[in-house]
Amino acid sequence: MLGKLTLHVLPLYSPIAMSGAAMELLGVLFIAALITWFGKWRYIWNEWLTTVDHKRIGIMYVVLAFVMLFRGFSDAFMMRMQQATALNGHGYLPPEHFNQVFSAHGTIMIIFMAMPFLTGIINFVVPQQIGARDVSFPFLNSVSFWLTAAGAALVLTSLVIGRFTTAGWTAYPPFSELPTSPGSGTDYWIWAVLVSGVGSTLTGVNFVVTIIKRRAPGMSLMQMPLFTWAAFITAILMVFAFPGVTVAAALLGFDRFLGMHFFTADAGGNAMNYINLFWLWGHPEVYIVILPSFGIFSELVATFSSKRLFGYVSLVYATMVIGILSFTVWLHHFFTMGSSADVNSFFGIATMVIAVPTGVKIYDWLLTMYRGRIRLTSHMHWTLGFMVAFVIGGMTGVLLAIPPVDYVMHNTLFLVAHFHNMLIPGSLFGLLAGYQYWFPKAFGFRLDEWWGKTSFWFWFVGFYVAFMPLYVLGFMGMPRRMDYYQNPAWQPWLIVAAIGAVLIAIGILCLAIQLVVSIRRREELADLTGDPWDARTLEWMNASPAPLYNFAVVPEIHDREELAWRKERGISHDAPAHYTPIEMPCNTSTGVLIGGAAFVLGFAVIWNIWWLAILAFAGVIAATIVKGSVPEEEYTITPDQIAALESRGSGPLLGFLSPLEDERGDHSTHGLLNSIGD
């Protein structure tokens, strides 16, 4: 009845894992209790969980990303503390726990932190930036989100029920095969990746179509803002790359569940096939997480330099070139496999070629600042910090792309330092800057600048203190993923790295404080114009928060930086003569039900509860067929309603309780938020 589920699946093997599980459960219970206390279940369900509004889905993605950032960082912190203390002994984490921790850290940070974060920002921003009312397939968008959330939920569940994989976030076979990795861990990984991977593929499809079909009249491709371009290329990469990892994980699942031999060590299996497939996704994935941030930086540099973006055409072509080349370099993840010198040279040189468009981008941003009027807000701090840190990562990346250098650096902490040096400044700094930049567009008030800058400095300094020692440890020949070690010369550097982790922890704490402080001071920080940064692109033409239909009248586009163009001519806020009715899709619970059923399906298969798996699978299929067979329900917003909503203007949390009603002066209903402050 319950498959392999028994009481032994509880994390009784390690008191630390147990307390982690307890904390996770308490967190869930606490949130549920809060919602119950304020009587908001119906509101959460009607307005958020079942929504098909791209802005709300975007916000939910970012919330998911922050939750997973907290979890993924906790793992990182535990690893740094372990390695700082584990000379000649086992530190405080037993190997079976430490090995889960580094596997979970990588999986979470890439697939369940960076991916939801960038997908959330793309979701929130792109339709507003191209003058659209929503994405092309709003319901599909909801399904994508809930599949991602289901995958994340599977990873979180593995802390409480069973274990997570110890095979690393890449789950390389043959180690991840049944003989060497028995138990639920790798199965959790497979199902989390499968379920969320389908979600990401669908997101990719949705945004390719949205950007091609939904641009406002007059906006040619070469008039799209650079963030939209970055999102476009990212979406294309998602469509082409994600099937690779989905297939790899599925075949690994066939090996494990059905006794097949795709990647096993014996019976004709070949692990290198998995590794090729995995990195055919894995390398484009690096650009999937970095390109949106490049787009964000492009927006920020132009806005906060009060100047047109320099080298737009170059930047667009550089983004395309990066997108194409990202599919030609995957072999650099395993130069040491023993392929011929010709093959290794080809992939080494192809990898370096990517440094050219990337360097061009950096110089285009620098030239955008040249002869500008630069406002050094927190956003610019993240941007400048990114440039200074990222070029170091780029340099070490080119080093690792030289096969003979890779022969002595592969699998060492030098490699770990390199990719964190790309992903923390390159991806995370951009996403955090984007979060602080578009926050007022989502909630109608800005985030506190002082806490934003403080957070930046802790992140920035903490990043150097945490990762520069890892470069040094690479020169010392220390491999990655060591639970303990016997070389005393390594320890001082590992202690320095642990101090860096503490600094980053303070940086994350500052982000949390920033949010709380800003909610308390929301009236002071209110964005009353819809354009708090004197920005240059279309999304800032709307009120903040934007009304649910984004644009009352779809604007005509004249320029790449449409809002700046209109402001120059003094026509940025001309009210249209009259409104026409707007049709919007109704909310639907099908998305959340499909996500829930996918979670149950994954969980049931992991624990061999076959009747439940069949039921859940049938549920997913049935829901899809039913939803696909009935005409999409829509409702009409009348011109009178539009006029009322347009006259509402900007301000903190306007329209948050119910998007069709005017909430000004009715903030008392936001019990949850008010309980934080006031």
Binding site: N99, P174, A265, A341, V391, M476
Partner: protein, 308 residues
Amino acid sequence: MRSLYRVVKNLLPLNINLSRAGALTAFMAMALPLAGCTGSSDYPVIFPHGPDAITERDLLFIAVAIMLIVVIPVFVLAVWLPLRYRASREAPDYDPNWDHSHRAEVVIWLVPALIVCAIGSLVWIYTHRLDPYRSQMAEGKPVVVQAVSIDWKWLFIYPQQHLATVNELVLPTDRPVSLRLTSTDVMTSFFVPGLTSQIYAMAGMGTRLNFQPGPVETYTGRNSLFDGKGFPDQKFPVRIVTAENFKNWIDTVRKAPLQLTPHKYQMLSKSGAMPHPLHFSSADPELFARIVKGEHSAASMIVSSRSK
């Protein structure tokens, strides 16, 4: 392909074995602060002794030096521009619509492209020169060693001498080494920092690593690819010794009481990490080939016992 390689090789004046001067300057600048903390032997990648590892280190420093051409201006500009053009200074040369310059575009595309051409040429030449599979030009008959990665130790078979060791690799300084590698099941990576390149060991496949051992020296080798809970213990001493000491060592191993019988091999594959080296006075020279074919894998033993 080969002729193209020869053309490139002849065109570029790279027979000077990577301008030593440049390498040395960069290397001193970097090595000094490091050496201040601990001994240079703690930094095998920076202070290598193996000929391949030395070239690899030099290549690293030369590439860094070339890349600094684009990296340093970024540092300078990323600090100078925001100060020079900060809004509060209200610089009079503010030009909000300046968004294109052919000259600047040409420079920012061309300079990185030239740098990539330069480093790319180094990549082509040195990837071929340092190919782990290349045959050694040096004098002397190569010492053949077959390395088998087993959870969590290394078995080294010396087929020419009909002996084997576990977790100890001894090589003579005066002869090239021809290493063949495989694994019993999980994938691992053979890595001796400071001596030579790293290469994977994979079940069902034999990889190669040919190199010159360089001067008399002792290294720590290990598996660098995570393979389970004994991973940190999968290390072994590597000793490069004189020809005479190598002969003596061979004689010592010949006197060892243990012999690597199929039964012993089966026990080895089950026993986990091994803190001290083991010597086997005899070993079947065909054993390695059989392991590659999978005839000795744990899984195939189960299959064959079932089929009985």
